[in-house]
């Protein structure tokens, strides 16, 4: 199986605290990696490093056998990062948000109405996003998954605020993505209702002896 993403000996220090050191991981096509750990252990930091938002103190991240800096454009086109901030404009309606989001992703042929229906927001299209519930806003953010062509999805707490139906919908979409040879890296406090040998887990623990002065 081809290796999609590989992290080599990552070390990260935030605000004088070592979150993890010499952390390595590997993820192949069609695989899912669940990053677990207590609050503040550095799960989000790890995801942001792999997404290319953060520089690790030491170590490297490779995509398709190439280091991150090597081909930033390939990186940006082949990965999709959705953080715990939904990247939804509060002043714009759901439809407008989706419309601009598809354009920002260069997916001009995607029909925003269709997308709205897929994520179950039909009928709410003319309400500014700030008046929608947290779960509905998250649906707007996650709508990107339904047209994304990226091979690697990096999702920070994607299930937060979603209802049972939304979670089910997301699982279906994950399944399709994996079957198409995509990979998935995610954090979640909820246990994944996932069975299968393709699921890997990695756990980040506090290492409290490194708590230092700030």
């Amino acid at each position: 199986m081809s290796v999609v993403i590989e992290a080599k000996q990552l070390t990260s220090v935030r605000a004088g605290r070592t979150l993890f050191s010499a952390l390595s991981l590997q993820l192949g096509a069609g695989e899912i990696l669940h990053v677990e750990g207590p609050n503040g252990a550095g799960k989000s930091t790890l995801l942001r490093i792999i997404a290319g938002l953060l520089q690790p103190l030491e170590g490297e991240v490779w995509l398709f056998g190439q280091p991150q800096q090597h081909d930033p454009e390939l990186w940006q086109r082949q990965t999709l990062f959705i953080g715990h901030k939904p990247a939804v404009k509060a002043e714009l309606t759901a439809l407008e948000n989706l419309h601009f989001q598809t354009q920002l992703d260069g997916a001009n042929n995607v029909d925003a109405w269709q997308l709205l229906e897929t994520v179950g927001l039909l009928g709410l299209e003319d309400i500014p996003a700030q008046q929608l519930s947290a779960g509905q806003q998250r649906r707007i953010a996650l709508a990107r998954l339904w047209y994304s062509q990226a091979k690697l999805w990096i999702l920070d707490e994607p299930f937060t605020a979603l209802d049972t139906y939304g979670i089910e919908l997301l699982h279906q979409r994950f399944q399709q993505h994996l079957e198409n040879g995509g990979s998935l890296l995610l954090t979640s406090h909820q246990p994944l209702t996932w069975s299968g040998e393709r699921l890997q887990k990695i756990r980040i623990e506090h290492n409290d002896e490194e708590l230092v002065y700030e």
Binding site: D208, E209, L211, V212, Y213
Partner: protein, 77 residues
């Protein structure tokens, strides 16, 4: 020496106040900078002591935990 007496040095041809004010404040400012640097180092030393104590506390707790787990292992066997 451009002056004949100490009085003249202080008087500075009528400009004594300005000259000594300028020199005094300048030297004071630089002295404050030096002293602040020395104090910072002292503060760092105090922080190092605190950190050492913190490390010792954590080490002690870990040891207790290890001890406890050994005890429970003994009781189960």
């Amino acid at each position: 020496m451009a002056f004949d007496s100490w009085q003249e040095v202080i008087w500075m041809g009528g400009y004594g106040f300005y000259v000594w004010l300028a020199f005094g404040v300048s030297i004071l400012a630089i002295a404050i900078l030096v002293v602040h640097g020395l104090l910072t180092r002292k503060k760092l030393a105090q922080m190092a002591v605190k950190k050492q104590q913190q490390q010792q506390r954590i080490a002690r707790r870990k040891q207790q935990e290890r001890h406890r787990s050994m005890v429970t292992n003994d009781s189960t066997s």
